[in-house]
C-alpha cells in the first residue's frame, strides 16, 4: 500500500474534497431552485419539455460519459493499447443507431418512457410490466457499477482505504443522488449533467493539451513513446486484451447496439419540445462524445508513456488510476504544487461524473416504475400526475437505498463486467422491441413480451455460465466449476436471440388491433402530430 500513500498527499486530499464540495454546493443550489419550478409530472419526468436541443445534447453527453469511460477507457488504452480504443469507437458509433432510428420517432410518439412507444398499439399491462422490469434491471446494473466505482475511487484518489470510509462514500453518493432527483426531478438532473459534462470536457481538454505539448503535437511520437514504455512490440496492434476475437465481436455488438436501448438516455429525448430538437440533441452529443473519446487516446497513451503500466497497475489493477496519475505527472509530480492541484481537479471531476450519472439512472428507473408500473399496470392508467410523481419520489428513495446497499456489498466483487452487461441487456431486450414497434406493422404484444423477457433472460443466463460467473479465480459464483459459455459479454448470442424471440412471438399469433393502430403511430412518429 506504499504506492497509495505515495500518490495521495494531505494537501491534495483537502483540495480535491473542497473542489468536490464546491460542485455539490452549486448543484444543490440549482436543484433547490429547480425544485420550486417542478410542479407537475411533465416537469418532474421531462423538465416541462423546456430543454433546448443544444442543452440536451450536452446533458446526454453528461449522462453517457461515466467514470467508466473517463477513468476506465483511459486505463484500458494505457494498459492494452488498441483494444481499449475500440470501446471509444463502439460507444460513439452507437449514436448513429440513436440518431437514425430511435430519437425522433420516440420523441414524437412517447410521453415519459420507452414503454409509452410500445404501449401505443400493444396491450398496456404486459408490455409496460416487461419494459419496467428491463429498465430497472439495466439501470440497477449500471448504478451498481458506478456506486462500487465510487468506493474504489476514494481509496485511489483520496487515500481512504478503510472499508468504513469506502462504504460511507458510497452512502454519501447515494444520498446526494436521491436529493437531486426527489427535489429537482428532471430539471435539476439535466443541469447537473450539463455542469458535469462541461467540467469533464474542460478537464479532459486541458490534460490532453498538456500531453500533446509534451510530444510536440505529434501523435506518432506519443504512440512510439507509449510502445517503448510498455516494452511490448505489439502494443499498438489489436489483441492485447481480447485474445479471442469472438469475445471482441460480442462486446463490439453490445456496445454499438446497446446505447439505443439505455433507458436513461432514451428518457432524455422527452425533455426537448420537438423531434427536430431531439435530432439537434443527438448531433451535439455526437460532437461532444466524439471529441471526448478521441481525447481518451491522449489520456491513455500519455499515461502509458509518462506514467508507465507498472505504476498504473500498482495503484489499481483495472487501470482506473491512469488518468489521475497522468495529471499528477503532468503537473510536476507527487510533491509539486502543480501535481497536487491537477490530480485534485481530476479526482473532483471523477466524483462529479459518478454523481451525475447515478442521478440520471435513478431518475430513469423511478420514472419507469411510477409511470409504467404503478400508474398503467397497478392503477390501470387512473392515477393523477400528482400521485404518479409522489410514487416516483418514493421509488427514488427505495432505488437509492437499494443501490447503496448493493453497492456496498458489491465492493469486494469483480464488477467491471456490469457496464458491458447493461449494454448487452439494453441491446437484447429493449432494442428489438423498440425497433419492431416503430417499423413493423405486424408486431404484437406477445412479440414485445417475448422479446424483452427472452433477451433479458438469455443475457443474464449466459453471464452466469460464462467465465464471469464460473471457473476463474475472480468468478462470482464458483471458482472451481468450469464455465460453459466462453465469452465474457453475452451480446453475440443474446442480441440475435432477443430479435428472434420478438419475431417468433409476433409470427405465432396475429393482433388485428395492433396492425390497425399502426398507421396512427406512424403518422405521429414521422410528423409529430399529437405529440406531448
Amino acid at each position: 500500500m506504499n504506492t497509495l500513500a505515495a500518490i495521495v498527499t494531505d494537501s491534495q486530499r483537502a483540495l480535491a474534497i473542497s473542489l468536490f464540495v464546491g460542485f455539490v454546493g452549486i448543484t444543490l443550489f440549482i436543484t433547490v431552485r429547480m425544485g420550486r419550478k417542478t410542479k407537475d409530472a411533465d416537469d418532474f419526468y421531462a423538465a416541462g419539455r423546456s430543454i433546448t436541443g443544444i442543452q440536451n445534447g450536452i446533458a446526454i453527453s453528461g449522462d453517457y460519459m461515466s467514470a467508466a469511460s473517463f477513468l476506465g477507457i483511459a486505463g484500458l488504452i494505457a494498459l492494452y493499447g488498441f483494444d481499449g480504443f475500440l470501446y471509444s469507437v463502439g460507444f460513439l458509433v452507437a449514436y448513429l443507431v440513436v440518431l437514425l432510428f430511435v430519437a425522433e420517432p420516440l420523441r414524437n410518439s412517447g410521453k415519459y418512457t420507452m414503454a409509452d412507444v410500445l404501449a401505443y398499439r400493444l396491450r398496456q399491462r404486459p408490455v409496460r410490466t416487461a419494459a419496467s422490469i428491463s429498465t430497472l434491471t439495466i439501470s440497477l446494473f449500471y448504478l451498481l457499477a458506478q456506486m462500487a466505482g465510487a468506493g474504489a475511487l476514494v481509496s485511489l484518489l483520496l487515500g481512504i482505504t478503510s472499508d468504513l470510509g469506502k462504504s460511507l462514500t458510497i452512502a454519501g453518493v447515494g444520498v446526494l443522488m436521491i436529493i437531486y432527483v426527489i427535489v429537482g426531478g428532471m430539471k435539476a438532473t439535466t443541469w447537473v449533467q450539463i455542469i458535469k459534462a462541461s467540467l469533464l470536457m474542460g478537464g479532459t481538454i486541458f490534460i490532453s493539451l498538456l500531453v500533446a505539448i509534451k510530444f510536440n503535437f505529434n501523435p506518432s511520437t506519443m504512440m512510439q513513446a507509449a510502445q517503448d514504455a510498455s516494452g511490448n512490440p505489439n502494443f499498438l496492434a489489436p489483441g492485447n486484451r481480447y485474445k479471442d476475437p469472438v469475445d471482441l465481436l460480442s462486446l463490439g455488438l453490445a456496445l454499438v447496439l446497446g446505447t439505443a436501448g439505455l433507458p436513461h438516455i432514451l428518457t432524455r429525448f422527452y425533455t426537448v419540445p420537438t423531434a427536430r430538437a431531439a435530432r439537434t440533441s443527438v448531433n451535439w452529443a455526437i460532437g461532444i462524445i466524439g471529441a471526448f473519446y478521441l481525447m481518451t487516446t491522449f489520456l491513455g497513451f500519455g499515461a502509458a508513456a509518462l506514467v508507465g503500466a507498472k505504476a498504473i497497475t500498482e495503484a489499481d489493477k483495472g487501470g482506473n488510476s491512469a488518468a489521475p496519475l497522468l495529471a499528477q505527472v503532468l503537473g510536476g509530480g507527487a510533491d509539486s504544487i502543480g501535481g497536487t492541484v491537477l490530480m485534485s481537479v481530476i479526482a473532483a471531476v471523477a466524483f462529479a461524473t459518478i454523481l451525475a450519472v447515478v442521478a440520471g439512472l435513478t431518475l430513469a428507473s423511478s420514472t419507469s416504475f411510477a409511470h409504467d408500473f404503478y400508474n398503467n399496470v397497478v392503477k390501470k392508467g387512473e392515477a393523477t400526475g400528482k400521485e404518479e410523481v409522489r410514487v416516483a419520489r418514493f421509488a427514488t428513495v427505495v432505488i437509492g437505498i437499494l443501490a447503496i446497499v448493493l453497492g456496498i456489498l458489491a465492493q469486494k466483487q469483480n464488477i467491471a463486467f456490469l457496464v458491458g452487461l447493461a449494454f448487452a441487456v439494453a441491446a437484447s431486450a429493449n432494442l428489438p422491441t423498440i425497433m419492431f414497434s416503430l417499423f413493423w406493422k405486424r408486431f404484437t404484444t406477445r412479440g414485445a413480451v417475448w422479446g424483452i423477457y427472452g433477451g433479458l433472460a438469455m443475457s443474464l443466463f449466459l453471464v452466469i455460465i460464462s467465465p464471469v460467473g464460473l471457473g476463474t479465480p475472480t468468478s462470482l459464483f464458483s471458482t472451481t466449476a468450469s464455465s460453459i459459455f466462453p465469452l465474457s459479454n453475452p451480446g453475440l448470442v443474446s442480441i440475435p436471440f432477443g430479435f428472434l424471440c420478438a419475431w417468433l412471438g409476433t409470427m405465432t399469433a396475429r393482433e388485428a388491433t395492433s396492425e390497425a393502430m399502426y398507421p396512427e403511430l406512424e403518422v405521429r412518429a414521422l410528423t409529430g402530430a399529437g405529440a406531448h
Binding site: L99, V256, L294, A512, T513
Partner: protein, 139 residues
Amino acid sequence: MTTTSPGPTDAPSVQDPYLVVEQSPEFQALRTRYRRFIFPMGAVFMVWYLLLIYCAGWQRSWMGQKVVGAITVGYLFALLQFVSTFAIAILYTRYADKNIDPVAAELKAEVERLDSLTGHHPTHLSDSELDVADLNAGA
C-alpha cells in the same frame, strides 16, 4: 378501410384524421423518403463498423502495421470511424432538413386541421377492450 385513397384536403368528416393523412400520397412519399435513407445508411455504418471489429479480431498483423511513424493501420481505421460517424450525422441532418421536415410540418398541420374540423380524437382502448376487438377481428 376505404378503397379510395382520399387526399388530406377532402376528408370525410367521420374518418380518423391520422388514417386519412396516412393514406395520402404525401405521407406515403414522406415515409418512403425517410426509410430509403435510414435503412441503407444503417446497413452501411453497421457493415463498416463490423469490418473494423473483424480486422481487429482476425487481421491483427495487418492492423498493427505502421503507416506513418508509429501510427498503425488500426488507428487510422478507428479514426475513420469517427470521421464517418460525424459525416453520416451531417448527411442525415441535411437530408432531413430538406426532405423530411417541411413535409412533416405540413402533414402535422393537416392532422391538426382535420382534428379540429371533425372533433375526432384517437381514443385508446383498454387491454380488455382490445382483447374483444381482436376476438371480433379473428371471427
